[in-house]
Symmetry: C2
Subunit: 101 residues, 2 copies
């Protein structure tokens, strides 16, 4: 299991368009067999900041995700909305057990 | 619904003790009616860094959580393990729907 938190900051005014594109990507991503969760959350004190909480079942799943059409569509759609490059951190599950994610 | 990400950095050598105390707290916390998830994840590139991913069902749930005995035990147990003060950010769910967290 591999968990990835992706930090996103969008340009002011791009929030709704980013949410629409990101919901579409998340909805398709959670259907991938290698993806256990694909949560999208938004900073309460800064509505231009979001975090994607991606939970992959195995080490190869992130690469397979990036080969999907929905990922490519999302990447290209949101590219002009970014206020800064996205950053990400890789994490391991401590609790709960991986099967419960 | 309110999501809180708590950033933790422990002193080198305190990792196992922190994990033990934090698993105990998380196991009890997910039994609280106001808590939907209480995930604990660890940075892959820095094993002294952890994130608590806390998903509360309502605005009062964080306060009720901090009134529990398991929270007080955890707070006091891990206090000497901290390398720096914990920081947290409040977030709102964008995807999936709150009921699916």
């Amino acid at each position: 299991m591999l968990i990835v938190h992706v930090q996103v900051r969008v340009l002011p005014g791009m929030e709704s368009a980013f949410i629409e594109a990101t919901r579409a990507n998340a909805s398709a991503s959670i259907l991938e067999p290698g993806i256990a969760r694909f949560d999208v959350v938004r900073h309460r004190d800064d509505p231009t900041r979001f975090i994607l909480v991606e939970v992959y079942r195995d080490a190869e799943a992130p690469l397979r995700h990036k080969e999907t059409a929905h990922y490519a569509t999302w990447r290209d759609t949101v590219a002009p909305m970014m206020a800064e490059p996205r950053s990400s951190v890789k994490l391991d599950a401590i609790f709960p057990d991986p099967a419960k994610f």
